[in-house]
Symmetry: C2
Subunit: 99 residues, 2 copies
């Protein structure tokens, strides 16, 4: 048996990060409340995982305004898209290895 | 977009646990050194994740002997098999949602 977790990326070692990346992969950008509602996590939990993904360079933060209200949105970086695709491929390999 | 991580199981929120479960799903039983070699992790890291999976009831520990040497092996419980299969299905759903 080959190492089933060989190419899995430690940066995605949490359901919340998988959820954030899934959302920014299929949407050009998403705001905090959209993410929170989608993934059903607390503000603090979501904020800490977004920050980690931003620090790694997989998610970029855009601080904009809607009228006079701040509207912070998140999008995948090219590096984030590439890394997450590789992670999903590695997950698919692992799933195949158990069948 | 549906919640991409809705059915993901928090107990499998780490690559090491994914590796342990993959191994015990395709082998009747595996010993510590086989797991360590397969997943390429430190003794301490592996031991703590096995203990957690055992406490949750997903892995069972068999303490046997080979000659006079102790030989501890690990196997998936029925509950562990069921939970991991559901987790893999949820991962497949998440992967599909990003395509």
């Amino acid at each position: 048996m080959k190492n089933p977790i060989e190419n899995l990326n430690k940066a995605f070692d949490s359901r919340v990060r998988l959820g954030i990346m899934s959302a920014v992969m299929v949407n050009d950008e998403v705001n905090f409340n959209q993410l929170k509602e989608l993934i059903q996590v607390t503000d603090g939990n979501l904020a800490s995982h977004i920050k980690a993904l931003e620090e790694i360079g997989y998610v970029k933060v855009n601080k904009g305004f809607i009228g006079r209200k701040t509207n912070t949105t998140y999008a995948a970086t090219k590096a984030g898209e590439k890394a997450f695709k590789l992670h999903l491929e590695a997950l698919e390999q692992m799933i195949k290895s158990t069948k």
